[in-house]
């Protein structure tokens, strides 16, 4: 504990905490909607796409990878959303193609053209997150904080509309709500969150941040507002505990945060069983 407090006296450690908590918070807010709309698979697919985009950015030696990764992921998010609305079977297959394809092409490019001496290490950290969140740079954290605040603001401001569109899109549309716009906003926010979360936990683990808090809180709570608030709390707690542990025991950040989320999920499931 004393050790941790010592660490916290360094500004970059504090920044890492702020960024981690904000990313986890955003993912969990959106996660409830994605899980309930049966869209969580889109989040998973997008994270693979983001990996591919990251590889392209690395090969082209673009200094700020965000500039490539963000637009590519956003375009794919919009595309996937359109596909999933038009027809489920095709939407599902095109998602699988896109996500596996992005992984393969990404890895191939990295292997063939990367100038880095440690390709395996690079790939591993893009997939599973950097071994230490402390390597996050100042600009990354600034972007992360600004984006998170925008996402949280949008979520609070659109809360009632998001609820209506999530619960019953047909009804919302029938009462004159432009559901397309809200679906588009949800897709955009998902893409942004996935790209941000990649910095923290790596491409393969982002969907864990999105899905676990929502699933845990849905075990115990039954109103939409309670579920949202509970998943936000779970996400923040898991991020704080996970990052602390990863600093203390020098474990990989992403995996540690996800494991804490799994533990919380198991505890909540046990409580639900106990309540009968």
């Amino acid at each position: 504990m004393a050790n941790l407090i010592e660490y916290l006296s360094f500004p970059f450690v504090r920044y890492a905490f702020i960024a981690g908590v904000l990313i986890a918070l955003c993912s969990s807010l959106l996660g409830v909607t994605l899980v309930l709309k049966r869209f969580s698979f889109i989040g998973d697919g997008l994270s693979h796409v983001a990996f591919g985009a990251m590889a392209i950015a690395a090969v082209m030696s673009i200094s700020n990878e965000m500039l490539v990764v963000m637009p590519v992921t956003i375009i794919c998010a919009v595309f996937l959303l359109k596909r999933s609305q038009s027809s489920t079977v095709k939407g599902d297959a095109s998602l699988a193609m896109l996500s596996v394809g992005a992984m393969a092409v990404g890895y191939l490019l990295l292997n063939m053209f990367s100038t880095s001496a440690n390709i395996a290490g690079d790939v591993c950290s893009t997939l599973f997150g950097s071994t230490s969140i402390l390597t996050l740079q100042g600009t990354d954290i600034a972007i992360c904080v600004v984006m998170s605040i925008i996402v949280i603001g949008a979520f609070v401001f659109l809360y009632n509309k998001i609820f209506a569109v999530t619960f019953d899109e047909t009804f919302a549309k029938a009462t004159g709500t432009n559901t397309e716009i809200y679906n588009l906003i949800i897709a955009l926010i998902t893409a942004v969150i996935i790209v941000l979360a990649m910095n923290l936990v790596g491409a393969l683990l982002t969907s864990a941040l999105i899905v676990f808090p929502a699933l845990s809180s849905m075990r115990l709570f039954s109103s939409f507002k309670q579920v949202i608030i509970c998943s936000a709390v779970i996400a923040v707690v898991a991020a704080l505990v996970g990052i602390s542990l990863s600093i203390l025991f020098s474990t990989p950040v992403g995996a540690t945060v996800v494991v804490i989320n799994i533990v919380i999920f198991l505890i909540f499931s046990a409580i639900e069983k106990a309540r009968g």
């Binding site: 659109l158 609820f163 209506a164 039954s222």
Partner: protein, 214 residues
């Protein structure tokens, strides 16, 4: 006074016409029952009236200051909702969605309206209950209360008694009749020919001629 007129309407989807030559008019205070076989296009017609699918040809007019925004709609139940974590009040209140406009949050009046509609349907004691733990009949009443929040003059009901036991079915029909007596125009899809004969002022038989029988 006429509220809704459909003239020579053809409804369907990109891949083809589902029902054609639909002609009818709905007056204020009418109780219109739409009957017909499975797949005859009843739901499609209702979605076309609501503007959820564009008409393939023909015309739909709203009069009496009505628009598809001021119509309450009770959809045929969808799968997503069955295990959705939401309280009854949250769901009923979402019926006020069209009143929100650009505002982010519901006003006191919106909440009072939602409560009033719940009292009307006898579900005010369920306010903070979870939707997924309710019986089918209760769930249907919650969705009716939500539709009432949006309905100013007209209510569209798509098989409101599907899956209900006889007692709950009768109760549902009584509530709908009561609303109709208070001046609400009702358009209801049903497979229950007996009920439709008892209460309806007009019947639209889909799949045959698409003409309205008064």
């Amino acid at each position: 006074m006429s509220q809704l007129i459909c003239k020579n309407l053809n409804v369907g989807y990109e891949d083809g016409v589902v029902a054609s030559g639909i002609d009818f008019a709905v007056e204020s205070g009418d109780y219109l029952c739409i009957v017909g076989e499975n797949g005859s296009g009843k739901t499609t017609l209702m979605k076309t009236i609501l503007g959820l699918t564009p008409p393939l040809s023909g015309e739909i007019y709203f009069e009496d200051g009505l628009s598809s925004k001021s119509i309450g709609y009770l959809p045929q139940q969808t799968l997503v909702q069955k295990d959705f974590p939401a309280s009854v009040f949250e769901i009923v209140l979402s019926g006020c969605l069209s009143k929100l406009g650009r505002r982010p949050f519901y006003s006191k009046e919106d909440k009072a309206l939602a409560l009033e509609k719940m009292q009307k349907l006898g579900i005010e004691n369920l306010t903070s209950k979870s939707y997924r733990n309710l019986s089918g009949g209760q769930q249907q009443r919650v969705l009716l209360a939500r539709a009432l929040c949006a309905a100013e003059k007209m209510l569209l009901l798509d098989e409101p008694t599907a899956g209900l036991d006889p007692a709950a079915t009768n109760e549902m029909y009584d509530y709908i009749k009561k609303l109709n007596d208070e001046g609400m125009t009702i358009i209801m899809i049903t497979h229950d020919l007996e009920e439709s004969a008892k209460y309806a002022t007009k019947t639209l038989n889909m799949g045959k001629d698409g003409v309205c029988h008064g």
